[in-house]
Structure formats: C-alpha cells, structure tokens
C-alpha cells in the first residue's frame, strides 16, 4: 500500500515520462505527431488490399475484423517487448536517482496505451464508414475493456522489465514468444474456427477474452458477455498483483546489476 501512495506522489514523473516518450517518438520527422494516425491508416490500407482482393478469408469485412483486434494487440505486444527493456534504457536514472522503480514500466505502458487511444480515433472513423451498427451500451463497455487490457499489459510489463535486468536474453526471447502468442490468440481468425478440443486452452490465454470483447463491440456491434469481461478482469488483476510482487522483490538490486 505504501508503494501505491509513493507512486501516486510521483504521478508528475509518470506524466513527464509519458509526454517525453510521445513527443520524442516522432521528433524530427516531417509528419511528426501525425504519424500516430498515418501509421494505422496505412496498415489498414495494406490489410484491405491483401485480404479483400488477394487472400480472401471468407469473413465479411475482414479488414475491419482484423483491424479492431490488431490495434489492441499491438498495444499489448509493444508493452511487453518494449517494456522488457524499459528499465535497461533508463539505466542512468535508476543508477543515480531514487524514485519508485515501478514508475518506469508504468509510464512505458501508459505511453503505449495513449498511443492506442489515439489510434482508436481512426478505428471509430473506419467503423462508422463501414456501416457497422454500434450498440450504445457496448460502446460504454469499451473503456472497461481497455482498462482491463491496461492492467494486464502492466502486470506483464512489470514482470518482464524486472527479470530482463538480471537476464538480458528475455528481451529477445519475448520477440518470438509474442509472435507465437499472436497466432494463438483469435486475432486473424475467430474463436469459432478453433477445434472444439483446443478451445479450453484459449480460455487460459488472457488476451482471448479481451480481443473477443473488442470485437463484440466494434465488429459485431453488441454488448460483450459479462463472462468474457469477468474472465479478462480476473486474469488482469492476477497478472498485476504478481507483477507488483515480482517487481518489488527484484527492484532492490537494480542499481547493482545495471
């Protein structure tokens, strides 16, 4: 509890780091901050071209089907892979200054999260243009889904960022792991396409309920199942608690290991 209060005291630092990250990301490029929007748009164009003319998937509006799931996934993936090296990249701070170490993964994940939120502007535009009938209650559920995903991503990011300090390979291993994870999550396909006897494996995957919920709201235009939300929420909280515990244990020797 003490640590939570301390993190709260350092909220300005989280804010500063996030702002620095967002502003620094496209600094010097011609389009600058616009890239935040251009990037997903171009991605969308590619998917549309590939999946509606070349590789027909047999799913209606497949580009949208993929897009609404892929954007949240990219947030999750970058939180983990980028998050794992977040402590290492702030080496100088960690070695020289005291602050609650949790601030670093939190601000990293938050900056990814903000990025995703901005991309959602594009998503909404696309969703409306493609004529999906949005359910009002469903849209209200969306912030909850995002929050659950945020908690989950934060939990994982904290674990991997702390472990990476001691075990640098993790950063590279995670590259492979998240790729496998991408294919084991119903992003490019729907959960219905998974054979019945494997399906329970997908339930353990914490990303499954989250992706499902996003798609319910934005693709099918319905309210996500309460079970789905609950499932995601429990997995998210568990990962966050484990994340804090692991991080709290490992952070004491950061300065020596870096």
């Amino acid at each position: 509890m003490k640590i939570l209060k301390e993190i709260f005291d350092y909220r300005q630092m989280i804010y500063s780091l996030v702002r620095k990250d967002l502003r620094g990301r496209y600094k010097g490029s011609v389009l600058g901050f616009l890239w935040t929007f251009v990037n997903p748009l171009l991605q969308l164009v590619v998917y549309t071209v590939v999946f509606s003319t070349i590789l027909r998937a047999g799913i209606d509006k497949y580009y949208l089907f993929l897009f609404v799931a892929l954007v949240p996934w990219i947030f999750f993936q970058s939180s983990i892979t980028g998050g794992s090296s977040s402590i290492l990249s702030q080496k100088d701070l960690v070695k020289k200054i005291y602050f609650p170490r949790e601030v670093i993964p939190i601000s990293y994940v938050t900056s990814c999260f903000v990025n995703m939120l901005l991309t959602f502007i594009i998503i909404f535009i696309v969703v409306i243009i493609s004529g999906v009938q949005l359910n009002f209650l469903g849209v209200l559920c969306l912030p909850i889904v995002m929050l659950v995903e945020y908690i989950l991503a934060l939990g994982f990011a904290m674990i991997v960022s702390a472990v990476t300090v001691y075990f640098r390979d993790l950063e590279h291993i995670l590259g492979i792991l998240t790729m496998a994870w991408l294919y084991l999550t119903p992003i490019m396909y729907s959960i219905d396409m998974v054979p019945e006897n494997f399906r329970h494996l997908f339930i353990i995957n914490p990303m499954t309920p989250i992706i499902t919920a996003y798609r319910d709201v934005l693709y099918y235009g319905q309210v996500p199942h309460i079970n789905t939300l609950l499932n995601g929420f429990i997995l998210g909280v568990v990962s966050l608690i484990v994340g804090f515990l692991v991080f709290g244990r490992l952070k004491r020797h950061f300065a020596e290991e870096l």
């Binding site: 005291d9 350092y10 300005q12 500063s16 620095k20 701070l93 020289k96 602050f99 004491r252 020596e256």
Partner: protein
Amino acid sequence: MSVIEVKDVHKKFKVYYDKGQTLKERLLFKNRAYHEDRWVLNGISFSVDAGETLGLIGENGCGKSTMLKMMTKIMYPDKGEISIKGRVSSLIELGAGFHPDMSGRENIYTNASIFGLTKKEIDRRLDDIISFSELEEFIDNPVRTYSSGMYMRLAFSVAINVDADVLLIDEILAVGDANFQAKCYNHLRKLKSKGVTIVLVTHDTNTIETFCNKAIWINEGKMMMYDKSSKVVDAYINYMNEKRYQQLASQRINVPVSEPESCQEENQSIEVTQNRAVNSNQPEEKQHNEKSSDKVNVIPKEMAITKVVLKNSEGMETLAFRGGESISIEIHYHSLKNSDEYNFGIAIWSPEGNRIFGTTTHDEDLTIEVSQGDGFICFSTDKLQLLSGQYLLHVAVASLKSDFIQYLRDYCTFEVVSSSKSVGLFDMQHKWVISDDLKGIQKKSNFATIQCNEVQETDLSQSDFNQMLLKAMEDPIIKKNIAMINTNHIRVFGSPDRIKMSKTANMVNTLFNTVSGDIAIGEYVFAGHNVSLITGTHDIHCTGEDRQKAFPTAGNDIIIHDGVWLGSNCMVLGPCRIEKDAVVAAGSVVLPHTHIKPGEVYAGVPAKKVKDISQRKEGTANGRFNYSRSDNEKNRGEL
C-alpha cells in the same frame, strides 16, 4: 534529534570472474558463474542531527558513494539499517531525464518530477529555479542549444530548489564558473541555516573543512574516523601523504645510476669547457678526449662525478622525501690527484625551470680537500623545507678558477611529499600570532606592527639585549628606572596612590614606577628579587611623540592578577596584564602590550610563552643578563 541513523551497515557486491549474461553462456559454462563477495562496506554506523552537515571522504573506491547511494535508497544494505526522517533529495546526478529537444522550461518540469515533485509544487518553484539558473532569456529554447555550462546551471538549479529535509550531494559541486559555484555554496549555506541536513561526498578536503561540521573518513569499507571535519581532514591528508610517500619510496628504491647527460653551463667570462660524452667510469679516456679537442682552456679530466646518492633521514637511498625530514645528497667522485682546488655545487630546480636553491662549497668559503681515488662529499640539511611536488637536482664540480669540470643538469628528479597545506614550493618556517591575546590592552591594528618587531627579535643575544636597554635608557621615563634596577628596597616612582596592592602580595626589592599609569597587584602574588614594574613604557623603541602617535588610546597600567609568580630580576613594562596563576620566569622582560593569560608561563627576552612550568629557567639569579642564545632557542622551539 538525529535525522539520519545508520546502524552497522554492511554492503557486499558480487564480483563475477566471468559472468555469463546470456542464456547460452549460462547453460554452457555453468562453472563460470563463480563469483566472489566483496564487502565494500563493513559496519558503518553514525547518526546525523538535524541541521548538521556531514562530509564523507576517502580514496576512490572506498565505499563512500555506495554509502550515499544506500542512503538515497538506490541500493539497499545487506546487513544493518538506515533510517532517514523527512523528505530526502539527492544531488547525485544532475540533469536526469533532460530531453535535448525540449525547452528549458519543459525540462524543468521533467527533471523536477523525477525528484518526486507534483505539478503544483513545480509551478510554485518555477520562478525561483529560473532566476537561480540565470537563464531567463533562454528558458524557452531547446536544451540542445545550451552550452554545457548553461545545461549544468539549469540542472543544478532544479536540484537545489527541491525542498528537502535531507540533502545528499555527491561530488557535483564542480559545476559552472567560479561565480556560480559560489552561488551554489551560498544557497547550500542558506539551506543549512534553515535546518536542512546535508551529507556531502567529495574528494575535496577543502570543501569538507569549510562546509561541514563533521566528517567521516571511510577507508576500505571501514569507518576510520568520525569527528570534527578539520580533524578528520587532517588525519586523512596525513594518511594520503604517507601512502603516497610509501608508494614513491617503493617505486624509487633504486636510484638510477645511469649515465646522466652532461651539459655545459654557459659561462660568460671564460671559454666554455668542452665536456661532451662524459663517461664517468673512465676518466682517463675522457681526459684523452678532452685533450684531443681544440678548445682553449680545456680542463684535464682529473675529477669526475661518478654518481649522486640521495638519502632520507633513515639513511635509505631514495628519491622520495617527506617535507621537513632530513636529506643528504652524496656526490661521489673519482679524482686522479690530491687537490683542494675543487668547488662542488648543488642546485634544486622546479620542473618549470626556476632555481629554488643553489649553493657551492666555494661560495660558502669551504675548502674541500680531495684525495686521489674515489670519495664523496655530502650536502645535508636537517629540514627539507620544500612543499609537495617534484624537484630536479643539478650537481656540478668546478675548478676554483670557476671552470666547470662537470655540470650534471637534471641529474635526477626527486619527489617531496609534505603534510603542509601551504602552497608554492618553499615551506617557509613561520608562525602566526593572534592579536586577540591583547584584547583590551591594545587596538588590533597597532598591535600587529608590534608583533612583527617582536618576532624579529626572538633572536636577541646578550649584546642585543644590552643595546635594547641602552636604547630604553634614552627614553626619559625608563631612563631613571633602569638606574635603580639594583636597589634593594621597594622604590616607588611617581605617586604611591596609584599602586593597588593586596596585603597578601609578597614583593621584595621591587621597583614600582607609576609615573604614567596605575599598578594593581592581586592576592598571593609572589615576586622575586629586583623585580621592576614600569608603567606606560609602551614600546621601548618609540620615544615621546612617536609613542603618543602610535598608541593614542592605550592604557598604561600594569595589572597583575592573583597568584602570579614573578621571577627574580624580571622586568614588566606596561601597559600589560598578567592573569591569574601565570608565571614570568626569572630574568625575563615582559614587553609592553603583553597579555599573559591564566596559567601561562612566559620566559625570555622579550618574554614569550613557553609550554609549561618546567620550561621556566631555574637558578639564574641574574638571569636577565645571563640569558644565553641556547636558552632562547630552546624556548623558541616550544613556541
């Protein structure tokens, strides 16, 4: 109330011989993961009270920065406890989190937030920070356009404006120009006076001494000393000097007996001696060479310096010396004949090419009789009055006609390690006298000049003293009194009413002169024979009007407090004050404006403070005139 409490803190680091960082390395070379625990801190305990300033000093790698890092909670101790009350701010890293593309103002927010400040708190301090950094014009420019000095100034301003109860500072005050540094120190002093507790890590002993109340000296993870900062700094400097000396001594134990390059001294009046390629071991051959050259005034090489040996006080051959210890320079030579026609010389030069000292046997009117074969002549001094640094030694031998036979320029470099904190090259023997000793009797400014005279006169010999008396006798006031020194009764010159003497005072054959002032004598004052108390003499070198000019406001009185002991034949010249239980040794002359403090012992002509009562001269009934040079020197040694 102690703010910082450090209890028996231990810290170890794992030192891997060869740590496998990656999985492959760890799996394949499991055995490589050998590591050694190195204890960098062993049982450090101290506590710091609120408002105190503590300095941590020690060599590189002694663990002082680790200690500080543990106090900031960047690291945690393996054993022991650290508790700090209040908000801690650490100035270990400046400009943390600065982004070069963001403006100075934005960076202030980022940087301050890293110290844990909220936006409101930063808003409140923003103006202070900007004005402290003196960067008002540039504050909205990106930081990458700043010069490094501006960068550090901004960074420091943020760090120092973070309100904290405890401030931990690591070696970062070497920022900016001298003005800004002074500003920083002033600010730190202000914080100090506000009751902020400061812990400072630095190598700079000067900073510690001037800035900290207390200091801790850490050596190899152990606390060597925790005391007043000046004491700790002295001990540390001594230790470091000794260490450096030992290092140098062990490196240089063998003086190179290499062939020193022989050079020629330009000699204005005489043709230069051709002295090329001196082969010191074969003087005959050299002689031959010389003869073959066509130079006029060629000196036959019947004399050559074979080597020069430097020895320290223990007689050890070395090139490292402690300042103040004795040094002998042995010039070994080989001569082909018996002769007394040689002139040996040495000179000590600074590396910058300044001669610090040089002398020759001839200049000191010494005749050196050299016998045929090998021998050496030794130059020695009891006290090497050089400060820390490197010095070059030149040696030379010449004929009495002042033709150089051999001039060995830069024969060797020797190093002096001095514990003196003075700067420069030469460690001048000196002392300081503080005018406070005379407060109440004499104004400071006047006193300073008198002190100078006195310092010069510590070497008074018998004849000097006689002269002083003669001079004194020219003074109309003293003149009369001097004549009466040998009288056997108490004599009073001037008004007896001006004498206030307690009944218990024991004064025999004393002469009182109250012509220009009062004399007060306390209880149980004991005076020997022939004591003279003469008021208002001021300085015996001054007469009449001069004196009035020099000491217009000086009192003229002699005040002798209770229990003072005045030895026989001593003379006390007013104005002066001798406080309780002080002793004036027999035969001494207490000059005007002397203030003898309680229990002090003064002896000599003029009377100077000596260490304790045993230094008092005994059995010199007529001590005033028997005062000898050796005693004088003895006293001086004690001062």
